[in-house]
Symmetry: D2
Amino acid sequence: MEYGGLLNEALLRAQPYTARGKTATYIGELSKKDPSHLGIALCGPEGRMCSAGYSSEKFTMQSISKVVTLIAALEQNGAESVFSRVGMEPTGDAFNSMVRLDLLSGSRPFNPMINAGAIAVADCIRGNNVAERVALCLDFARKLTRNPSLSIDQAVLASEKATGYKNRAIVNLLESNGVVSGSPEEILELYFSMCSISADCRDLACLAAVLAGGGTDPFTGERLVRFDIVRLVRSLMVTCGMYDYSGEFASTVGIPSKSGVGGGIISAAIGKCGIAVYGPALDSHGNSVGGLKMLEYLSDEMDLNMF
Amino acid sequence: MEYGGLLNEALLRAQPYTARGKTATYIGELSKKDPSHLGIALCGPEGRMCSAGYSSEKFTMQSISKVVTLIAALEQNGAESVFSRVGMEPTGDAFNSMVRLDLLSGSRPFNPMINAGAIAVADCIRGNNVAERVALCLDFARKLTRNPSLSIDQAVLASEKATGYKNRAIVNLLESNGVVSGSPEEILELYFSMCSISADCRDLACLAAVLAGGGTDPFTGERLVRFDIVRLVRSLMVTCGMYDYSGEFASTVGIPSKSGVGGGIISAAIGKCGIAVYGPALDSHGNSVGGLKMLEYLSDEMDLNMF
Amino acid sequence: MEYGGLLNEALLRAQPYTARGKTATYIGELSKKDPSHLGIALCGPEGRMCSAGYSSEKFTMQSISKVVTLIAALEQNGAESVFSRVGMEPTGDAFNSMVRLDLLSGSRPFNPMINAGAIAVADCIRGNNVAERVALCLDFARKLTRNPSLSIDQAVLASEKATGYKNRAIVNLLESNGVVSGSPEEILELYFSMCSISADCRDLACLAAVLAGGGTDPFTGERLVRFDIVRLVRSLMVTCGMYDYSGEFASTVGIPSKSGVGGGIISAAIGKCGIAVYGPALDSHGNSVGGLKMLEYLSDEMDLNMF
Amino acid sequence: MEYGGLLNEALLRAQPYTARGKTATYIGELSKKDPSHLGIALCGPEGRMCSAGYSSEKFTMQSISKVVTLIAALEQNGAESVFSRVGMEPTGDAFNSMVRLDLLSGSRPFNPMINAGAIAVADCIRGNNVAERVALCLDFARKLTRNPSLSIDQAVLASEKATGYKNRAIVNLLESNGVVSGSPEEILELYFSMCSISADCRDLACLAAVLAGGGTDPFTGERLVRFDIVRLVRSLMVTCGMYDYSGEFASTVGIPSKSGVGGGIISAAIGKCGIAVYGPALDSHGNSVGGLKMLEYLSDEMDLNMF
């Protein structure tokens, strides 16, 4: 079957499962999405892009942005500096676990894919002021998605800031532990801004394809990210990318992936293709129910499981 | 032996132990105190006040203020309302334990004597604005110490605000859990202000005597606090007043007491007398080393152990 | 009102609440009790005994026996030795909490009133073999209850042994931590035997009266327990005796007490009287629902609250 | 460079690092090994075996046996049955973490690679009696290592049984939670027996090659394990195989691996080769210090990193 047929079939099979999930409610703006929507895009070798369903519906990257900020921090500061502040170990805790579960392995957050870790990573991004730091990371996201008009959803950003008590607790605990040193509010400004980047499946399939391809632009071949950084990020996506479903996802789908509570998931099938799925109805782990089903189908049909 | 002789003897015996402790370092201002200083005051029936050592040296109340704020909240709102937000159970955790240990029994903080609980209690205090709420609690402290010039140490307050990341984490986590509803910064303003009230042993012996006497002014007999509230507070002082040394303190000293990292301890020997001790050198639990020794001595000599 | 009238009134008022509780189910034998039964006995000065309801119904002491074993261990080994293995601090955890919550403050169990602590205490009891150690503790219980025919309920003991996986886990963890050194099965034999002592309210009111009176036989005045041990045990009953309801119980009833999942509670009103209540219907903390109500009523009417 | 040269070079480079580790002390027999020894074996396509150093020194499999028992349980019972008792999620906890950290995600152990999980898996193995169950698993190990004389080190087994309090605690806690249902001592007999299987690098390189090759005998091509089971096990080795160093190991070495405190590590480079390293000096995570260094070198030189 060709890509187009496969994507349509994946969508059809996943559709019934959307009824089993719920949109995220803790950020007001996210709950307004239609839980029955599904979208998918695949970016193959030489940038061959293919999509189906609501693949042009915009949604916020949420935790998917953790991958972008991490890459930006690693490019800017090197692995040694970044990983002096955050570990590389999975935690087994839920995406909405209390601070106690999110936070500490020694004094460092467990890994860059949980909120505490991503907040520590955000503090690594350097710049003359917070606006410049946000701009730097947003530019990075635009480059990786090949979409120069990628922008921040201001309504979601406002919503995140207004209700982000848990993340505010985390950043203050990190200050207390000496893990971060910047202004808590500026760190959160950067963190929330990245979570609020609005993108669609086609944007994110391109980002996934960069990772799948080892760091080069899938269309031009231009190197966008150093290979050692891509490799490191892909390993973290496998061990920590799908919240406390990462282990089971590795065994059933087996593609380095990162999920967000906005309903998106990016999957980087190494050396093969980048995939982005979208479905705002989430399961109890915080992963898109329909998105998981589509990825399971494609992994089987296209033999994408790396294990 | 008369009171005066007992206090002097207590001081003498405790003096060598001060070398075993250290002043608190996490609030800059506290570390400037002389760790060898010791003070004690006892307020007996009919307000007979007696003191020894550095009994007029000012220090900040710190956690001792939790007792005052709790009484103010109970007088203003009633027990049902206050204890819908905070429990009554001891935790077994250290005074400087991480948020995870401080925080939760269900969603409520364990008790009003730990930081998380006292922060929840601070949110109960009503007033038109934060200044009014601080004034209300400070007036309450002035009344209970019979010292109308009791005031807030602005240097300590500034120090607390500048470095209070842990407490800022706690208040945000409480917001996230729906335990508090006021502005986080206003709640902290009240909480830090109370911690920063500057008092001496004579002030606090009077406060202890009010509690020992069941809520009446030890000098005038005027009722200052409802008896049922005093009783409740005295029980919480026994089970939770001395951090994670409360159990051992109950078995060795046996007087309802509350300790603060400023080096003070108040002890309310029910129906007998109020005692305040001071010594800024703290043990690993956060209790004044010399203060504990003085209280052990007086409990034995004056038969104050209630068990 | 005289004692007899008070007890009957307490029983009447408590009766409706029995419907709100449930008998313990995790030990098969305990679930066979009639949840509507209530009993009470009070042993006043000079051994004046008074009782009402099912005060002669036998039930197993369960955690109430922790008090007896602790006293026996302290009499035999001294406080220093015993408290090198177990702490004195309350935990805030539920009676049926997982090992992680029961177990550790450093490497020692938190206090002798939780299972882990009582198991550590059981290991302190010396004797030539386990039968001798059980006999020593049982004799102690007989002496304190003034009932020479007090015996172990073999059916309950068998039931405890057959299903006591949690306690077996605890003793092995204590071995692993070096807290206990005897044979795990022998320690459990002693621990389970003490839990399975069958007694009634009159037996236990006598035990409570010994504690209330400072260690002397309420009928003969003979010293049975050293005063310093009684004082220590009474303080632990206040801070840790009622599981994770200890703090609230101290504030509402205010009598040193110890509860058991067999439905009994002993209360030692210092210098006043010993009380034992019985009602096998338990609340979520593991305390007798009806028993609590009877104690609240008597504390108010007889002014027994020590705070 | 040819295999032989690479292995010798790996050994040479790793040798100095052995001084940084220590042999395991909690099992008496393990501490008798010479911490400076290093061995390595590689089993390539068509069963081409190559080795260097102490590649014929026998050591016990310890946690490496968790892979064998898991495969046996999955072959015998299917994934659905096995994973109803144990999860697939990494925990972030140390190999010697307390029960609380090892144990629970809901009521199930986190994954089959930690002690609690492997004990739950052992309970899945069916047989008429424990001897038969041990024989079944040992036969499986013999088949996967192509070594019919593989046997259990009785001295280590006795040592494990005598001091295995922590594992005894775990199995009882699992009984208490209803996760396992067999006799605790029989489950431990099987678990400890598997840990005590004595093997050398050449044995284990063959086992690793079976996994690397997708489940077929590297010499004969005979199918030994179902492919879906191999894939599942390989994914668990990546997310959970190296204790709380799994995340960092994935990012630096990137080969599905499993470590044991006997000093061995097996690594299954998918589609390429099986490697076994040995070095009894362990780091703080419980992994062979020298073994890690050899694997890092080979992963770089032979391009074995799958990420």
